[in-house]
């Protein structure tokens, strides 16, 4: 699946076999109506499972595919906020969280599951545990633009097995909303998960990296703050609009990459 273009850099093409999404928050109508999309209420953490991981499990389950040996690439943003788990410790100190008495007494009030919610491989781990995924896994964090950079790795993996790419985040929380509004000025927040199944013979459409950044690209219908979900939402948009050709830019605070979509 990896072909060498005229430049020295390999250009990878992936073929989409299925797409499912579970979205919450301020979901634009266009995305809500996209095929394979389900809109749900925003979720709270459940025991050791962060909302972002919960959305991801539901989106991947909806694919209805046998993925036990699939290669899994996860693109995780904030899986939720674990801030509340530390709040009591700070309030009981009536001052900074880490201050006299923290190590011996107050630290014991922090729930043992907190570390699990704090780990950013939470999405990959929960998918594996809940759905029995045992294949190779590449777990990335805060790297939506890297979706384009990892297309060759995904294309390599499709030679041997199906490839599951999952974008998941739950950033419609006070901690993230405040920061998102400060950074982007956008007040419309989308969270959830998009699951893409790529196979050598996938027929829904093709995704290929685009070295060029800048120039015309397909715009969403309205601005939204959805960290790390954008590559998945872009493909969802292509499916919703039944686009034969499109070019998407993945714009993160520090970096922009681009990919092309085409439909047979």
């Amino acid at each position: 699946m990896v072909s060498t273009a005229s430049t020295a850099t390999a250009v990878a093409t992936l073929h989409l076999a299925a797409c499912r999404a579970v979205l919450a928050g301020d979901v634009p109508d266009e995305l809500a109506a996209a095929p394979g999309t389900r809109c749900v209420e925003m979720r709270a953490p459940h025991r050791a499972t962060a909302p972002g991981a919960s959305y991801a499990v539901e989106a991947v389950t909806a694919l209805g595919a046998d993925l036990a040996d699939a290669a899994v690439f996860t693109f995780a943003g904030p899986p939720g906020s674990a801030l509340h788990l530390f709040q009591a410790g700070r309030e009981s100190a009536n001052g900074p969280l880490v201050s006299a008495g923290f190590g011996r007494e107050r630290s014991r009030r922090i729930h043992p599951f907190t570390v699990l919610l704090a780990l950013q491989n939470q999405v990959a781990a929960t998918l594996s545990l809940e759905l029995g995924l045992r294949g190779p896994c590449c777990s990335t964090t805060d790297s939506a633009a890297a979706f384009v950079d990892l297309l060759p790795n995904m294309a390599l993996a499709t030679r041997d097995r199906p490839v599951l790419a999952v974008f998941a985040s739950a950033a419609n929380r006070a901690e993230h909303r405040t920061r998102g509004i400060h950074q982007s000025g956008i007040t419309s927040f989308v969270e959830g998960a998009v699951a893409l199944l790529f196979e050598e013979e996938g027929e829904l459409g093709s995704v290929a990296s685009d070295e060029v950044v800048g120039g015309p690209f397909t715009h969403p219908s309205s601005p939204r703050y959805a960290p790390v979900l954008e590559p998945g939402l872009s493909i969802l948009l292509a499916l919703a609009r039944r686009l034969d050709q499109a070019r998407f830019e993945i714009r993160e605070p520090q970096r922009t990459t681009a990919f092309r979509w085409s439909r047979p």
Partner: protein, 389 residues
């Protein structure tokens, strides 16, 4: 994603740098020097293996609060000797920034104050990756991986794939972890993963007295290339990854997935000169690992020198597997297996050659470096000091 030496040309490791606990370097670890020490008050447990080198944010750092793990990453990257080529890739393994006390304290107080958010943007989104890329002059592909304690090994695997595929000719890999603070220790202590002993010899992988891991911190960087200028430090000859699908924190009862990762890394290679074990010193993990090596190597497992440098560095979490891989390459070049320190009373369930207490001369050949992580990630690397084919 998987596959061993048979399919792919090896990725050359042209240079490396380590920021180890206690100011150690690779040769200290090969000799058996421990960095485990007593920690300041408010740290519970009161022992750990901290980095003692002072790290500070660069004068032009754009935000007032900097993640300590990112500063460690910058320190390791800054020490890396390399040529300045036109288009490098970058793989960064950097975990758990949002559990650092500085982030938590600021966010707990100001999470409803947009005007204060710029103070902690260095912890957020793509800043850590892109800041490091800009400091290093990286313009090629870049990604931040996070598979908890397998992150460093996985980062080397992703970089190797880019080289194998011709995406770029050179990749910088950087890993860093810092949770040796009151909050980080609490998170793992409350999960009962840490040793509760107030004893600087408490990091005891494969010893029957082991009671959990001792926290460490550190950073590592390496320049990987598909070119062969000069004399490389060694080669990443194969890599394998899998997930256990069994438990978040416990080791699995079914070893199939762990074995698959090791066998993918090994490819056609059936035995090795040395195994760098994950070896955290947890009661359940070490016997599981012992069973794994018997399964992967059969009867040969008993004669392969196998050790855990976490007995000296503590468990450096997301960067541990990269530190271990780079120390293993140094060991292969020197033909020395580092010892498992504090292994004075071997556990009968851990009955392989775990190189107790003192270093051991090893034969020329391959080494397998393995990592297992919370969440069920398994990652293995096949390493060699000389080009094997």
């Amino acid at each position: 994603m998987s596959g061993g030496a048979r399919k792919r040309p090896p990725a050359a490791v042209l240079s490396s740098s380590l920021v180890l606990p206690g100011g150690l370097d690779a040769s200290d670890v090969l000799r058996g020097t421990s960095a485990v020490t007593r920690l300041p008050p408010e740290h519970n447990p009161g022992i750990g293996a901290p980095v003692t080198t002072a790290v500070e944010a660069p004068a032009d750092f754009p935000y007032p609060i900097a993640p300590r793990a990112l500063l460690l990453a910058l320190e390791a990257a800054g020490r890396l000797e390399r040529e300045h080529g036109p288009r490098y890739g970058l793989v960064l393994a950097l975990s758990c920034l949002h559990a650092e006390p500085a982030y938590l304290e600021h966010t707990l107080v100001h999470h409803l104050h947009p005007e204060r958010m710029s103070d902690i943007l260095a912890f957020c989104a793509d800043f850590p990756l892109e800041y490091l890329a800009s400091r290093l002059g990286v313009t090629g592909p870049r990604v931040r991986v996070d598979s908890a304690c397998a992150s460093g090994s996985d980062a080397l695997a992703v970089a190797s794939e880019w080289l194998e595929l011709g995406v770029v000719d050179d990749v910088i890999v950087v890993a860093a972890s810092s949770m040796i603070d009151p909050v980080g220790l609490t998170l793992f202590r409350n999960l009962r993963a840490l040793s509760d002993e107030d004893d600087v010899t408490a990091s005891r992988p494969f010893d029957r007295r082991r009671r959990g891991f001792v926290m460490g911190e550190g950073a590592a960087a390496a320049w990987l290339s598909s070119r062969l200028p000069g004399s490389p430090l060694g080669f990443v000859c194969g890599h394998g990854r899998s997930m256990n699908a069994e438990a978040f924190t416990a080791m699995p009862t079914d070893l199939d997935a762990m074995a698959a990762a090791c066998l993918d890394a090994l490819g056609p290679v059936r035995s090795v000169a040395y195994v760098s074990a994950h070896g955290t010193g947890t009661p359940i993990g070490d016997p599981c690992e012992t069973r794994l090596y018997k399964r992967v190597f059969g009867g040969d497992a008993y004669r392969i020198p196998t050790s855990s440098i976490k007995s000296m560095t503590g468990h450096c979490l997301g960067t541990s597997s990269m530190i271990e891989a780079l120390v293993t390459l140094e060991g292969l070049r020197a033909r020395i297996a580092p010892p498992t320190l504090n292994l004075e009373e071997p556990d009968p369930e851990c009955d392989l050659d775990y190189v107790p207490l003192v270093p051991r001369a090893i034969e020329d050949g391959f080494a397998l470096s393995v990592a297992f992580a919370f969440g069920g990630h398994n990652s293995a690397l096949l390493l060699a000091s000389e080009k094997p084919w």
